[in-house]
């Protein structure tokens, strides 16, 4: 203390920055308040910084590194002054009267907050030994200058005087003249339980007509005899005797401290839990409205005195409250965050303090880092959004006290609540609902700050904002809490329904998209880590290395589909198309995510905000090895993250994420004022287009300035030779209007056309009338209109307009170019769909050749010139039913044959064209079906994999191999193909080896990769290879999807192999996706068959080789090997029911209904052995199941070629079929060692309970021996690829067997050698040469 400099308040005010000082900088006494000692010698300094720059010299040389921290004064300093109540007429900022005392020194006075409050401190001079000083911000006007002194330690400057138990506070001392002459009878002794904030009410009986300012206090008094008798002894203060144990302070009484005694509130707030004596009270019946309350009212003689008897009944520290209860609950914690202008305060990073009135908190000292204690709060655990949280909710009885100051200056967060509609709305809610709305406010502000103004989001005093509109929609009546007056809430607190918290399960969090993206990454990482953990635990990671060629790696892929129910939050954002890829995205100010909307309609507006409650989140990627410690995502979806507006950034590059939802399940929340109206000008002439193709997004060649102005999205359409005409003057056509019932019906914005016309040809000129022979009904949503379908004369065009001959008709083919503002129409476009294009000409007829719409064979689609989808029906019947014919049946048959269980998690990404009418803008009902059927060209055929293979083989027979010599480009036909993508992998051109599937992950969207895609249906797989631009790959383009490939080139390579090749115009449309959780347990693994080429042609094209050459061929190149069957390595024979076996296939293959899911044969080419695996058909041929049993089972066996029999019942397979019908499944294993495999080590096992007789065993042995004794075969095979390896590995592991350590190959084709034919061929070749 010696040598401490005394600062004056004026010095601090002049410094005008947060300061902290102490009288001693050496040690801090443990005692909170040192015993009063004789005042030390103090050195009064002149702190004029021009002469004695004590304070400022301490500040200036060492600039504070943290501008928000209180600057410590390096020298011992103290303050001398007097603490008193704030004078009633002081110029205080609002809220100070609830918490602040006054500290005056010299001529200055500041607000004051004393940590270790002692009632004796009032009106006595003290030396402040440790303090913080926080000046008010003049700019913001808080406090209007001045500051607050936070007193940490102090002592009296004068000599110590023992507290005499006299009045602590007296109304007389502050000059109260209120009722000083009236009879004052009441006195109360009790424990202060709670106090209200200072409030103002109109006081009806007050003579001056002014308002009454005061606060309420709840005192728990004791009703024991001693207390009652003591109270009767008026005028004696030392009346209260006895210990705590004899008194029961249980009876609540209410005291109303009226003006000017409301200045006592800061003192009373320090008295909570303490025993006080209040005298000079007057018992009154206070009428508030129709309610009356019996309470004690302060008078001009009211005094407050303390008794040394402290109850100490209220515990401190930790949570001591029950859910919903208010009384006696206490929580002490550190402020870790103040959000939403002080309405939400985070304590200890684990609970949230929901403050209903900002004045509750001592706002000067209510800063982050301070330790506060909260008394009398309501403990609420909201149950919404599947996030566990604890809320401490304040009410009129809550008291917040600061226990330790923070040395961080955070700007004054507490703001007086505005009287906006939103503020009133929030106050009318229950605690949980209020908290949810505050979360909404924070989230909305973060998400839509770039789309909407703050007023649009929050509203104003007169108009609801977006938040309130949205919240009102989802809050139930139970979420509203009736408001009562302060007297009612304070005095009849328990009856004010504070305990009723409604069930808020329907309320979900609205999160910023950046948080969603990070949440996706977190889900992905946790999923992968769990897999890793499970794999390590189970030790099941069997090694596939023995199967895999050197230098290749296994392709692995995972897709997870997570429903919104499991996530607990909803998505809000605008639907936009990204440029230049044209992908659909959900966008907010924090980020964007790709979306897939199967029922996208044309009136989606990118300026509107859509709410998506039901959706599926799709995550897909390669399960790369992750380090557990590598990814710490922190609190992503916690309330803290939302309040803090925590912005996340994408960290994982190896996953793709997108959201799938239907527009019908979404709500249009906000219609932007800048959104163009969706008026449909249903007047005039419309061209009818059929979209033939959509071109994938091009990259515009950014290096070439010529291309900068080019669009990146194009489509090709046929202009049908008929126009739709809706004459303007032929009826009462009303302009269309938008009906937005977004709030009432919670539906998507409906566009309703009110057109009440019936078009006719009556107003047309005679020359035009002749064309109008096709009446049609034209419906738009729920309304309809009538017009005419008029023929448009199509002349042979010049070179700019191409012709397409479809069904003998000449339709003009045009290019649709999509401008950047109309990318949404590109997304809407369906290949095979019909669209209307408004003709720019004014006439009622239009010659397509001369029409400006198609000048240069191209039409630009922009926001003015839009396309409207139209479904054409004939007398109410959808035309797609009749015209799709073959390909639809084939496509759908693939689905029909598949077990539905496999597609339990299948998501439809694009609705079938058959359902086009469900999303089309217009329905065009053609009434004259007979005539108009010929108008519509047939849609392009989409092939299934099987039919594609058939076509390839057919082409092979008819046209042979195209001579490509001298040509740069491959030749062939462009086809459309539909099937399941089983595998997608990069095809490294140099080594032609497979590498891990990692494309689509890089940031360079223009990168072009050489890929190979396996597309399968039930029975067959084809490969499509070539170069694909990243932009051509649609969302979800990974394995495990059903996709349609438009304009794939079916070509015949120089090696004679048919191949499907991607071209730059190949458009990929994803039809549906399904979950791929683990590729090892993938049930939908298609039996690895290969292209089926007629064997007679193979002999001409496939080179003859040896097994050694075959297995060394890294690219699974087909090789023909002449060999014989040595024995079987492994056979699984199953009875095949009618359902799972295509009878057509059985008939074609001449094999019985025997399924052979796995078959491994040991083959010998004369040089080496090789284990050849084959599918059912090939295995059947190798087992010679089609041979006549009479020859096989008799010694007089004569074998000629295949030895086929025309009658199935005479075949070997028929006998096998009968046996399998009995046993269901028979497994044949060869336990011989690799070098000496023979038929002697075969074992047989069956699934059935029936006895596997020796005759049956003999039959099987006969069949196998017959296969071994057959003549030499030609097989066409290839090395096992990774896909086959995975399948084989999985199957064999399930059957608890292994693979012999010999070469393995896959048999694609089996050919019985006809020696005679071969001899003739040889002779022929010799003759030629």
């Amino acid at each position: 203390m010696e040598g401490a400099h005394v600062l004056s308040l004026s010095d601090l005010l002049r410094a005008s920055r947060p300061l902290t000082g102490a009288s001693s900088l050496v040690s801090v006494p443990t005692s909170p308040r040192p015993p009063p000692t004789k005042r030390s010698r103090v050195e009064t300094l002149n702190l004029d910084h021009t002469t004695n720059p004590l304070l400022f010299s301490d500040l200036s040389p060492n600039p504070n590194p943290n501008p928000n921290a209180f600057l410590p004064i390096k020298r011992p300093v103290l303050l001398i002054g007097t603490v008193d109540l704030l004078p009633p007429d002081s110029d205080r900022c609002r809220g100070c009267e609830n918490h602040c005392l006054s500290f005056s020194g010299g001529s200055s006075r500041v607000c004051c907050y004393v940590l270790d409050f002692d009632p004796e401190i009032l009106r006595r001079e003290i030396a402040v030994l440790a303090w913080n000083f926080l000046p008010f911000d003049r700019e913001t006007g808080v406090g209007g200058g001045g500051g607050v002194l936070e007193v940490i330690r102090w002592r009296f400057t004068g000599p110590a005087t023992a507290f005499d138990g006299g009045f602590l506070l007296s109304a007389l001392s502050i000059g109260s003249h209120q009722e000083t002459n009236s009879v004052v009878r009441s006195r109360k002794i009790g424990v202060v339980r709670s106090i209200s904030l200072v409030f103002k009410v109109p006081y009806a009986t007050q003579h001056d007509g002014g308002d009454s300012v005061g606060f309420l206090a709840e005192i728990l008094s004791c009703e024991c005899d001693s207390c009652s008798s003591a109270l009767m002894r008026q005028g004696t203060d030392n009346c209260f005797v006895g210990g705590n144990d004899v008194h029961k302070f249980t009876k609540p009484v209410f005291v109303y401290f009226l003006n000017p005694l409301y200045t006592w509130r800061p003192v009373l707030s320090k008295m909570i839990g303490k025993l006080v004596v209040l005298s000079g009270l007057k018992k009154k019946l206070v009428f508030v409205g129709e309610e009356s309350y019996t309470m004690f009212v302060s008078t001009g003689r009211t005094t407050l005195s303390l008794r040394g008897l402290s109850t100490g009944t209220l515990p401190s520290g930790g949570m001591t409250a029950k859910d919903g209860e208010c009384n006696n609950s206490v929580y002490s914690g550190t402020i870790t965050g103040i959000y939403m202008q002080g309405m939400v305060v985070e304590l200890d990073q684990k609970v949230f303090l929901l403050i209903n009135d900002p004045q509750l908190a001592p706002h000067h000292s209510f800063r982050s880092g301070a330790i506060v204690s909260v008394r009398n709060f309501h403990l609420v655990r909201p149950n919404f959004a599947s996030i566990k949280m604890v809320l401490l909710c304040t009410c009129v009885k809550t008291n917040i006290d600061v226990e330790s100051f923070s040395l961080i200056e955070t700007k004054c967060h507490l703001k007086i609540q505005s009287k906006s509609l939103l503020g009133k709305f929030i106050n009318s809610l229950t605690f949980s609902a209020r908290f949810w709305v505050l979360l909404l406010v924070s989230s909305f502000k973060q998400k839509f700050q770039s789309v909407c103004s703050e007023m649009e989001i929050l509203g104003s005093n007169n108009k609801e904002g977006l938040v309130q509109t949205y919240a009102s929609r989802w809050l139930s009546p139970n979420d509203y809490q009736p408001k009562h007056g302060i007297f009612m809430e304070f005095c009849k607190h328990d009856s004010c329904m504070y305990n009723s918290e409604s069930d808020l399960k329907s309320l979900k969090l609205v999160i910023p998209l950046s948080n969603l993206i990070s949440k996706c990454e977190e889900i992905w990482v946790s999923f992968i880590l769990k897999r890793q953990k499970d794999a390590e635990k189970g030790g099941l990671r069997h090694n596939l290395s023995h199967f895999i060629h050197e230098g290749t790696s296994c392709r692995r892929f995972i897709r997870r589909i997570i429903p919104s129910e499991d996530l607990g939050f909803i998505l809000l954002g605008s639907i936009k198309t990204s440029s230049p890829s044209g992908r659909l995205q959900l966008v907010d100010a924090t980020g964007n995510i790709d979306v897939v909307i199967p029922d996208l309609v044309s009136n989606v507006n990118c300026h509107n905000i859509y709410e998506i409650r039901e959706y599926k989140l799709v995550l897909e990627g390669s399960p790369t090895q992750l380090d557990n410690q590598q990814y710490d995502f922190g609190p992503l979806l916690t309330c803290r993250a939302i309040f803090q507006q925590f912005s996340c950034r994408k960290r994982l590059n190896n996953i793709t994420m997108y959201v799938h939802f239907n527009l019908r399940d979404s709500n249009c929340l906000h219609v932007s004022s800048c959104a163009p109206s969706h008026e449909v000008a249903c007047v005039g002439l419309f061209h009818l287009l059929l979209v033939k193709h959509k071109f994938p997004s091009t990259d515009n060649f950014p290096d070439d300035p010529k291309m900068w102005n080019c669009s990146s999205l194009f489509a090709e359409a046929l202009v049908l030779p008929y126009n739709l005409n809706f004459p303007e003057k032929s009826g009462n056509i009303q302009p269309t209007e938008i009906v937005q019932d977004m709030l009432d019906a919670q539906k998507f914005v409906h566009v309703l056309s009110r057109i009440t016309t019936t078009g006719s040809a009556s107003n047309l000129r005679a020359s035009e009338r002749k064309f109008c022979h096709n009446p049609c009904s034209f419906s738009f949503r729920s309304a309809s209109l009538h017009g005419t379908l008029m023929p448009a004369r199509v002349h042979r065009s010049d070179g700019n307009c191409f012709k397409d001959s479809v069904d003998g008709q000449h339709n003009m083919r045009i290019l649709l170019e999509f401008k950047a503002d109309s990318f949404i129409y590109y997304q809407l476009l369906r290949i095979g769909g019909y669209y209307l294009l408004k003709c720019s000409s004014d006439g009622l007829t239009c010659n397509l050749k001369g029409c400006e719409c198609f000048a240069c064979g191209k039409t630009c689609i922009d926001s003015q010139n839009t396309l409207r989808s139209v479904s054409i029906i004939f007398n109410g019947c959808n035309n797609h039913k009749g015209s799709r014919e073959e390909h639809t049946s084939e496509v759908s048959s693939g689905r029909a044959g598949e077990p539905r269980s496999h597609y339990a998690t299948e998501l439809l990404l694009s609705s079938p064209l058959e359902h086009f009418h469900e999303t089309s803008d217009f329905h065009l009902d053609l009434l004259n079906e007979e005539h108009l059927l010929g108008i519509l060209p047939r849609p392009s055929e989409v092939l299934s994999v099987s039919s594609c293979i058939r076509m390839m083989t057919a082409e092979f027979r008819t046209t042979g191999i195209s001579d490509l010599q001298g040509h740069w480009l491959p030749q062939g036909d462009l086809v459309s193909l539909n099937g399941n993508i089983e595998d997608v992998h990069l095809n490294d051109c140099k080594s032609t080896s497979f590498v891990s599937f990692r494309f689509l992950t890089g940031s360079d969207q223009r990168r072009i990769s050489s890929v190979c895609i396996h597309v399968a249906d039930d029975t067959c797989v084809v490969q499509i290879s070539g170069h694909l631009s990243m932009r051509a790959c649609p969302v979800g383009f990974r394995p495990g999807v059903k996709a349609t490939f438009h304009r794939v080139l079916m070509m015949c390579s120089s090696s004679g192999r048919h191949a499907l090749l991607f071209t730059p115009v190949t458009f990929i449309e994803i039809n549906s996706i399904r979950e791929v959780v683990d590729e090892q347990s993938e049930e939908r693994m298609v039996l690895p068959t290969r292209l089926t080429f007629p064997t007679e042609h193979l002999s001409d094209t496939i080179p003859l080789g040896l097994f050694l050459q075959l297995v060394r061929s890294m690219d699974s190149k087909l090789t023909k090997v002449r060999c014989r069957v040595v024995t079987t390595q492994f056979l699984v024979l199953e009875h095949c029911g009618h359902d799972s076996m295509n009878s057509e296939q059985c008939r074609l293959c001449s094999i019985p209904k025997v399924n052979i899911p796995i078959a491994g044969f040991v083959m010998d080419d004369g040089l080496s052995l090789c284990c050849c695996w084959a599918d059912r058909d090939r295995a059947g041929m190798l087992l010679r199941l089609q041979e006549n049993a009479k020859y096989v089972f008799s010694d007089a066996k004569v074998f000629k070629g295949g030895g086929n029999t025309g009658n199935l019942q005479h075949t070997v397979g028929y006998h096998l079929q009968k046996m399998l019908k009995k046993h269901g499944r028979v497994i044949v294993k060869n336990h011989g060692i690799a070098a000496e495999l023979s038929c002697q080590d075969l074992t047989f096992s069956c699934d059935s309970d029936k006895h596997f007789s020796s005759s049956e065993e003999r039959l099987l042995k006969f069949i196998i021996l017959n296969a071994c004794q057959g003549s030499v075969l030609n097989i066409v095979g290839s090395a096992l690829d990774a896909n086959t390896l995975r399948w084989l590995d999985k199957e064999l592991l399930e059957l608890s067997t292994g693979v012999q350590s010999m070469h393995n190959a896959w048999v694609s084709e089996v050919e019985y050698v006809d020696p005679l034919k071969e001899a003739w061929t040889m002779l022929h070749n010799l003759g030629i040469k």
């Binding site: 010049d798 170069h1027 090749l1061």
Partner: protein, 125 residues
């Protein structure tokens, strides 16, 4: 066979036809597009230009092609390089392509070349 000697006209832009270009070869079969700048009835030589580059076209073998200055034409023929790198295309096919979107045309050309290169690489490996 004579027909086999006719090679397809390689698509080139006029800017690419500079002496250092690999396409600038004697006898190279090319397909060029440009706006008609000059046409001499006497010599049947036309001059087309595009983006600052021009090329002379010998149109003596063409029939039924009406030449209008300012229109856009496309020619297929063989390049005849004369002295001082003066080249002329001996057109065997010509047509008016007015209305063609040249930007789009060049975009298609680049895509095609990209495809050719990729296909050529993949078949070589």
């Amino acid at each position: 066979m004579a027909s086999s000697a006719i090679k397809p006209g390689t698509l080139v832009t006029l800017q690419e036809l500079e002496p250092s270009s690999p396409m600038f070869k004697q006898g190279a079969s090319l397909r060029v597009t440009g706006k008609l700048q000059e046409y001499s009835v006497e010599t049947a030589v036309a001059v087309i230009s595009d983006s600052g580059a021009s090329l002379k076209i010998d149109t003596r073998h063409l029939r039924d092609v009406v030449f209008r200055i300012g229109s856009i034409y496309q020619f297929i023929g063989e390049l005849l390089i004369q002295s001082d790198d003066d080249a002329i295309l001996q057109a065997r096919v010509g047509r008016n392509v007015d209305g063609i979107d040249l930007n789009l045309y060049y975009q298609s050309l680049q895509l095609r070349r990209q495809f050719e290169a990729e296909f050529s690489n993949s078949t070589r490996t």
